[in-house]
Protein backbone atom coordinates (compact mmCIF):
# COMPACT_ATOMS: atom_id res chain seq x y z
CA UNK A 1 0.00 0.00 0.00
CA UNK A 2 2.76 2.40 0.95
CA UNK A 3 4.44 1.62 -2.33
CA UNK A 4 1.30 2.71 -4.12
CA UNK A 5 1.01 5.99 -2.29
CA UNK A 6 4.68 6.77 -2.88
CA UNK A 7 4.21 5.96 -6.55
CA UNK A 8 1.04 8.11 -6.56
CA UNK A 9 2.72 11.14 -5.05
CA UNK A 10 5.64 11.00 -7.45
CA UNK A 11 3.09 10.60 -10.22
CA UNK A 12 1.30 13.70 -8.99
CA UNK A 13 4.60 15.60 -8.83
CA UNK A 14 5.46 14.47 -12.35
CA UNK A 15 2.03 15.49 -13.62
CA UNK A 16 2.42 18.94 -12.07
CA UNK A 17 5.83 19.26 -13.69
CA UNK A 18 4.44 18.33 -17.09
CA UNK A 19 1.58 20.80 -16.67
CA UNK A 20 4.03 23.57 -15.80
CA UNK A 21 6.27 22.69 -18.73
CA UNK A 22 3.29 22.76 -21.11
CA UNK A 23 2.30 26.16 -19.74
CA UNK A 24 5.80 27.52 -20.23
CA UNK A 25 6.10 26.01 -23.69
CA UNK A 26 2.96 27.79 -24.82
CA UNK A 27 4.31 31.26 -24.03
CA UNK A 28 4.21 33.59 -27.01
CA UNK A 29 7.76 34.29 -28.16
CA UNK A 30 9.32 36.89 -30.41
CA UNK A 31 12.43 36.34 -32.51
CA UNK A 32 15.77 36.71 -30.75
CA UNK A 33 17.03 38.98 -33.51
CA UNK A 34 14.16 41.37 -32.86
CA UNK A 35 14.59 41.13 -29.08
CA UNK A 36 18.33 41.79 -29.32
CA UNK A 37 17.76 44.76 -31.62
CA UNK A 38 15.26 46.26 -29.17
CA UNK A 39 17.61 45.84 -26.21
CA UNK A 40 20.38 47.50 -28.18
CA UNK A 41 18.07 50.38 -29.14
CA UNK A 42 17.03 50.87 -25.52
CA UNK A 43 20.66 51.07 -24.40
CA UNK A 44 21.63 53.50 -27.11
CA UNK A 45 18.60 55.72 -26.58
CA UNK A 46 19.25 55.98 -22.86
CA UNK A 47 23.01 56.17 -23.01
CA UNK A 48 23.13 59.95 -22.90
CA UNK A 49 21.08 59.89 -19.68
CA UNK A 50 23.32 57.35 -18.01
CA UNK A 51 25.70 59.18 -15.66
CA UNK A 52 27.99 56.19 -15.34
CA UNK A 53 28.51 56.11 -19.10
CA UNK A 54 28.79 59.81 -19.75
CA UNK A 55 30.74 60.63 -16.63
CA UNK A 56 29.67 62.88 -13.80
CA UNK A 57 31.11 66.41 -13.78
CA UNK A 58 32.57 67.13 -10.35
CA UNK A 59 30.34 70.18 -9.93
CA UNK A 60 27.29 67.93 -10.06
CA UNK A 61 28.69 64.88 -8.34
CA UNK A 62 26.52 64.22 -5.28
CA UNK A 63 29.13 61.91 -3.78
CA UNK A 64 31.97 64.39 -4.08
CA UNK A 65 30.87 68.00 -3.67
CA UNK A 66 33.44 70.51 -4.99
CA UNK A 67 35.89 71.60 -2.35
CA UNK A 68 35.60 75.19 -1.46
CA UNK A 69 37.61 77.42 0.82
CA UNK A 70 35.77 78.90 3.72
CA UNK A 71 37.13 82.01 5.27
CA UNK A 72 36.45 82.00 8.95
Amino acid sequence: MSNNSAANSSLVIAQKAVKQLRLEASVRRIKVSQAAAELKTFCLQNAHKDPLLTGVPSSDNPFRPPKSCVLL
Binding site: R29, K40, L52, N61
Partner: protein, 301 residues
Protein backbone atom coordinates in the same frame (compact mmCIF):
# COMPACT_ATOMS: atom_id res chain seq x y z
CA UNK B 1 23.03 39.66 -29.52
CA UNK B 2 26.64 39.83 -30.69
CA UNK B 3 25.23 40.13 -34.18
CA UNK B 4 22.86 42.93 -33.24
CA UNK B 5 25.52 44.75 -31.25
CA UNK B 6 28.16 44.42 -33.95
CA UNK B 7 27.58 47.91 -35.22
CA UNK B 8 27.47 49.54 -31.81
CA UNK B 9 30.38 51.74 -30.78
CA UNK B 10 32.40 50.32 -27.95
CA UNK B 11 32.13 52.12 -24.59
CA UNK B 12 35.88 52.06 -24.26
CA UNK B 13 37.55 51.61 -20.93
CA UNK B 14 35.16 52.58 -18.12
CA UNK B 15 37.10 54.06 -15.25
CA UNK B 16 35.17 54.93 -12.18
CA UNK B 17 36.83 56.60 -9.25
CA UNK B 18 36.32 55.67 -5.66
CA UNK B 19 34.45 58.62 -4.16
CA UNK B 20 33.73 57.46 -0.64
CA UNK B 21 34.48 54.57 1.64
CA UNK B 22 31.79 54.05 4.24
CA UNK B 23 33.28 52.68 7.43
CA UNK B 24 31.20 51.63 10.36
CA UNK B 25 30.43 47.98 10.19
CA UNK B 26 32.54 45.65 12.31
CA UNK B 27 32.09 42.46 10.35
CA UNK B 28 31.33 41.14 6.87
CA UNK B 29 28.74 43.07 4.91
CA UNK B 30 26.26 40.73 3.30
CA UNK B 31 23.71 42.97 1.66
CA UNK B 32 22.85 46.52 0.72
CA UNK B 33 19.91 48.26 -0.91
CA UNK B 34 19.50 51.81 -2.18
CA UNK B 35 16.51 53.89 -1.18
CA UNK B 36 14.24 55.21 -3.93
CA UNK B 37 15.58 58.73 -3.25
CA UNK B 38 19.02 57.64 -4.55
CA UNK B 39 20.60 59.26 -1.51
CA UNK B 40 20.04 56.92 1.40
CA UNK B 41 21.20 53.36 1.48
CA UNK B 42 20.85 50.55 3.99
CA UNK B 43 23.53 47.94 4.60
CA UNK B 44 23.48 44.75 6.65
CA UNK B 45 26.42 43.17 8.35
CA UNK B 46 26.95 40.10 10.45
CA UNK B 47 28.06 42.41 13.26
CA UNK B 48 24.30 42.36 13.96
CA UNK B 49 23.45 45.81 12.67
CA UNK B 50 21.66 47.49 9.81
CA UNK B 51 23.10 50.92 9.05
CA UNK B 52 21.21 53.54 7.06
CA UNK B 53 23.65 55.90 5.36
CA UNK B 54 23.32 59.32 3.77
CA UNK B 55 25.58 58.70 0.80
CA UNK B 56 25.99 62.35 -0.08
CA UNK B 57 27.68 63.13 3.24
CA UNK B 58 28.81 59.66 4.24
CA UNK B 59 27.05 60.02 7.57
CA UNK B 60 25.22 57.21 9.33
CA UNK B 61 21.61 58.18 9.88
CA UNK B 62 20.14 55.20 11.69
CA UNK B 63 21.55 52.08 13.30
CA UNK B 64 19.15 49.19 13.72
CA UNK B 65 20.30 46.49 16.11
CA UNK B 66 19.25 43.04 14.95
CA UNK B 67 18.03 40.22 17.16
CA UNK B 68 19.98 37.78 15.06
CA UNK B 69 23.37 38.72 13.67
CA UNK B 70 23.15 36.18 10.86
CA UNK B 71 21.67 38.55 8.34
CA UNK B 72 21.76 37.78 4.62
CA UNK B 73 19.45 40.28 3.04
CA UNK B 74 18.18 43.81 3.48
CA UNK B 75 15.63 45.89 1.60
CA UNK B 76 14.49 49.52 1.62
CA UNK B 77 10.77 50.16 1.15
CA UNK B 78 9.94 52.48 -1.79
CA UNK B 79 8.54 55.03 0.69
CA UNK B 80 11.81 55.18 2.60
CA UNK B 81 10.01 54.64 5.90
CA UNK B 82 10.72 50.96 6.36
CA UNK B 83 13.56 48.53 6.00
CA UNK B 84 13.41 44.75 6.17
CA UNK B 85 16.08 42.20 6.87
CA UNK B 86 16.42 38.49 7.35
CA UNK B 87 18.84 35.64 7.28
CA UNK B 88 19.62 32.42 9.07
CA UNK B 89 16.95 33.13 11.66
CA UNK B 90 14.38 32.24 8.93
CA UNK B 91 12.50 35.42 9.81
CA UNK B 92 11.93 38.56 7.76
CA UNK B 93 11.74 41.49 10.18
CA UNK B 94 10.34 44.84 9.09
CA UNK B 95 11.55 47.97 10.94
CA UNK B 96 10.18 51.50 10.99
CA UNK B 97 13.25 53.71 10.70
CA UNK B 98 11.40 56.99 10.87
CA UNK B 99 10.39 56.43 14.47
CA UNK B 100 12.48 58.12 17.18
CA UNK B 101 14.37 54.90 17.58
CA UNK B 102 14.02 52.09 15.07
CA UNK B 103 11.02 50.00 15.92
CA UNK B 104 10.29 46.45 14.85
CA UNK B 105 7.02 46.63 12.97
CA UNK B 106 6.47 43.00 12.03
CA UNK B 107 8.18 39.69 12.10
CA UNK B 108 7.33 37.37 9.24
CA UNK B 109 8.35 33.99 10.47
CA UNK B 110 6.54 31.46 8.35
CA UNK B 111 9.68 30.41 6.52
CA UNK B 112 11.14 26.96 6.73
CA UNK B 113 14.53 27.95 5.40
CA UNK B 114 16.99 30.84 5.72
CA UNK B 115 15.95 34.13 4.19
CA UNK B 116 18.26 34.85 1.27
CA UNK B 117 16.51 37.88 -0.21
CA UNK B 118 13.55 40.20 0.31
CA UNK B 119 12.07 43.08 -1.65
CA UNK B 120 9.21 45.46 -0.81
CA UNK B 121 6.33 45.85 -3.25
CA UNK B 122 4.96 48.65 -1.08
CA UNK B 123 4.93 49.53 2.61
CA UNK B 124 2.44 46.76 3.20
CA UNK B 125 3.68 44.00 0.96
CA UNK B 126 6.98 42.23 0.75
CA UNK B 127 8.24 39.30 -1.28
CA UNK B 128 10.66 37.05 0.53
CA UNK B 129 12.89 34.32 -0.81
CA UNK B 130 13.90 31.45 1.33
CA UNK B 131 13.81 27.81 0.40
CA UNK B 132 10.46 28.83 -1.01
CA UNK B 133 9.37 32.21 -2.33
CA UNK B 134 6.53 33.84 -0.52
CA UNK B 135 4.14 36.66 -0.36
CA UNK B 136 2.77 36.60 3.18
CA UNK B 137 -0.92 37.06 2.43
CA UNK B 138 -1.90 34.12 0.30
CA UNK B 139 0.64 33.18 -2.23
CA UNK B 140 3.55 30.86 -1.97
CA UNK B 141 5.69 30.35 -5.02
CA UNK B 142 6.89 26.78 -4.76
CA UNK B 143 8.53 25.94 -8.00
CA UNK B 144 12.25 26.05 -7.29
CA UNK B 145 13.96 22.83 -6.32
CA UNK B 146 17.00 24.38 -4.70
CA UNK B 147 17.26 27.29 -2.31
CA UNK B 148 16.23 30.55 -3.90
CA UNK B 149 19.19 32.89 -3.52
CA UNK B 150 18.08 36.13 -5.09
CA UNK B 151 15.13 37.97 -6.45
CA UNK B 152 14.48 41.12 -8.43
CA UNK B 153 11.29 43.08 -9.09
CA UNK B 154 10.47 44.21 -12.60
CA UNK B 155 10.38 47.98 -13.17
CA UNK B 156 6.59 47.82 -13.56
CA UNK B 157 6.26 45.73 -10.37
CA UNK B 158 3.96 43.20 -12.04
CA UNK B 159 6.49 40.40 -12.22
CA UNK B 160 9.61 39.35 -10.45
CA UNK B 161 12.45 37.05 -11.24
CA UNK B 162 14.16 34.60 -8.91
CA UNK B 163 17.46 32.78 -9.14
CA UNK B 164 18.16 29.59 -7.24
CA UNK B 165 20.64 26.91 -6.36
CA UNK B 166 19.04 24.66 -8.95
CA UNK B 167 20.80 26.95 -11.52
CA UNK B 168 17.47 28.12 -12.93
CA UNK B 169 15.98 31.59 -13.12
CA UNK B 170 12.20 31.81 -13.01
CA UNK B 171 9.81 34.62 -13.89
CA UNK B 172 6.74 34.94 -11.65
CA UNK B 173 3.56 36.97 -11.82
CA UNK B 174 3.22 38.95 -8.59
CA UNK B 175 -0.56 38.84 -8.42
CA UNK B 176 -1.48 35.25 -9.28
CA UNK B 177 1.76 33.60 -8.21
CA UNK B 178 2.18 31.64 -11.42
CA UNK B 179 5.61 30.81 -12.76
CA UNK B 180 5.55 32.17 -16.29
CA UNK B 181 8.95 31.25 -17.67
CA UNK B 182 12.04 29.30 -16.69
CA UNK B 183 15.54 30.01 -17.94
CA UNK B 184 18.32 27.47 -17.81
CA UNK B 185 21.92 27.56 -18.93
CA UNK B 186 23.92 28.14 -15.81
CA UNK B 187 25.81 25.18 -14.45
CA UNK B 188 25.84 26.24 -10.83
CA UNK B 189 23.91 28.24 -8.24
CA UNK B 190 22.55 31.57 -9.41
CA UNK B 191 23.56 34.06 -6.71
CA UNK B 192 22.48 37.32 -8.27
CA UNK B 193 19.76 38.49 -10.56
CA UNK B 194 18.65 41.86 -11.90
CA UNK B 195 16.17 43.25 -14.42
CA UNK B 196 17.38 45.14 -17.45
CA UNK B 197 15.88 48.67 -17.12
CA UNK B 198 13.43 48.17 -19.99
CA UNK B 199 11.95 45.21 -18.12
CA UNK B 200 12.36 42.95 -21.15
CA UNK B 201 15.49 41.11 -20.10
CA UNK B 202 17.15 39.80 -16.97
CA UNK B 203 20.80 39.34 -16.08
CA UNK B 204 21.93 36.52 -13.82
CA UNK B 205 25.23 35.91 -12.05
CA UNK B 206 26.31 32.48 -10.91
CA UNK B 207 28.87 30.41 -9.05
CA UNK B 208 29.87 29.04 -12.46
CA UNK B 209 31.82 32.36 -12.83
CA UNK B 210 29.63 33.69 -15.63
CA UNK B 211 26.76 36.09 -16.07
CA UNK B 212 24.05 35.68 -18.66
CA UNK B 213 21.38 37.89 -20.17
CA UNK B 214 18.04 36.23 -20.87
CA UNK B 215 15.46 38.01 -22.98
CA UNK B 216 11.95 37.53 -21.58
CA UNK B 217 9.98 37.98 -24.79
CA UNK B 218 12.03 35.56 -26.89
CA UNK B 219 12.40 33.27 -23.86
CA UNK B 220 16.08 32.55 -24.22
CA UNK B 221 19.64 33.46 -23.38
CA UNK B 222 20.92 36.18 -25.70
CA UNK B 223 24.47 36.70 -24.46
CA UNK B 224 26.88 35.35 -21.88
CA UNK B 225 29.55 37.24 -19.96
CA UNK B 226 32.52 35.11 -19.12
CA UNK B 227 36.24 35.27 -19.27
CA UNK B 228 38.74 32.45 -18.89
CA UNK B 229 40.82 34.61 -16.60
CA UNK B 230 37.92 34.95 -14.17
CA UNK B 231 37.75 31.91 -11.92
CA UNK B 232 35.66 33.35 -9.17
CA UNK B 233 31.92 33.03 -8.68
CA UNK B 234 29.64 36.02 -9.18
CA UNK B 235 28.08 37.16 -5.92
CA UNK B 236 26.09 40.22 -6.90
CA UNK B 237 24.93 42.27 -9.87
CA UNK B 238 23.73 45.75 -10.66
CA UNK B 239 23.07 47.57 -13.92
CA UNK B 240 23.66 51.19 -14.89
CA UNK B 241 20.53 53.19 -15.68
CA UNK B 242 20.67 52.64 -19.46
CA UNK B 243 21.45 48.97 -18.98
CA UNK B 244 24.68 49.27 -20.95
CA UNK B 245 27.00 48.54 -18.03
CA UNK B 246 26.79 45.52 -15.75
CA UNK B 247 28.57 45.77 -12.42
CA UNK B 248 29.24 42.25 -11.21
CA UNK B 249 30.82 41.55 -7.83
CA UNK B 250 33.03 38.48 -7.72
CA UNK B 251 34.70 36.30 -5.11
CA UNK B 252 38.08 37.59 -6.40
CA UNK B 253 37.57 40.82 -4.32
CA UNK B 254 36.77 42.89 -7.43
CA UNK B 255 33.71 44.22 -9.14
CA UNK B 256 34.11 43.77 -12.89
CA UNK B 257 32.29 45.97 -15.35
CA UNK B 258 30.83 44.38 -18.49
CA UNK B 259 29.44 45.98 -21.65
CA UNK B 260 26.01 44.35 -21.71
CA UNK B 261 25.61 44.58 -25.49
CA UNK B 262 29.04 43.46 -26.62
CA UNK B 263 29.79 41.00 -23.84
CA UNK B 264 33.22 42.50 -23.17
CA UNK B 265 34.87 43.44 -19.92
CA UNK B 266 35.29 47.20 -19.89
CA UNK B 267 36.53 47.98 -16.43
CA UNK B 268 37.09 46.88 -12.88
CA UNK B 269 36.47 48.39 -9.47
CA UNK B 270 39.24 47.19 -7.18
CA UNK B 271 39.86 48.27 -3.70
CA UNK B 272 38.18 45.75 -1.49
CA UNK B 273 40.27 43.39 0.60
CA UNK B 274 37.77 40.60 0.58
CA UNK B 275 34.92 39.17 -1.47
CA UNK B 276 32.49 41.74 -2.93
CA UNK B 277 29.18 40.54 -1.52
CA UNK B 278 26.72 43.14 -2.78
CA UNK B 279 26.47 45.85 -5.42
CA UNK B 280 23.80 48.40 -6.14
CA UNK B 281 23.10 51.30 -8.45
CA UNK B 282 20.58 53.90 -7.20
CA UNK B 283 17.52 54.81 -9.25
CA UNK B 284 19.10 58.01 -10.57
CA UNK B 285 22.09 56.00 -11.80
CA UNK B 286 24.62 58.46 -10.37
CA UNK B 287 27.00 55.90 -8.95
CA UNK B 288 27.65 52.33 -7.86
CA UNK B 289 27.97 51.07 -4.34
CA UNK B 290 29.94 47.91 -3.57
CA UNK B 291 29.84 46.18 -0.19
CA UNK B 292 32.32 43.60 0.89
CA UNK B 293 33.28 41.04 3.48
CA UNK B 294 36.07 43.49 4.40
CA UNK B 295 33.30 45.45 6.26
CA UNK B 296 33.46 48.52 4.00
CA UNK B 297 31.09 49.98 1.47
CA UNK B 298 32.58 51.94 -1.39
CA UNK B 299 30.85 54.47 -3.63
CA UNK B 300 32.17 54.91 -7.16
CA UNK B 301 31.32 57.08 -10.13
Amino acid sequence: MSGAAGGVASVGRVQLKLRKTLKGHLAKIYAMHWSADSRQMVSASQDGKLLVWDCFTGNKLVAVPLKSAWVMSVAFAPSGNLVASGGLDNICTVYNIKAASPKTLRELDAHTGYLSCCRFLSDSEIITASDKLKRPQTIMFTNHIGDCMSLALSPDMNTFISGACDSLAKLWDVRDGACKQTFSGHTSDINAIAFFPSGNAVITGSDDCSCKMYDLRSDQEVIGYQDTSLNAGVTSLALSSSGRLIFAGYDDFNCHIWDSLKGEKVGVLSGHDNRVSCTGVPDDGMGVCTGSWDSFLKLWN
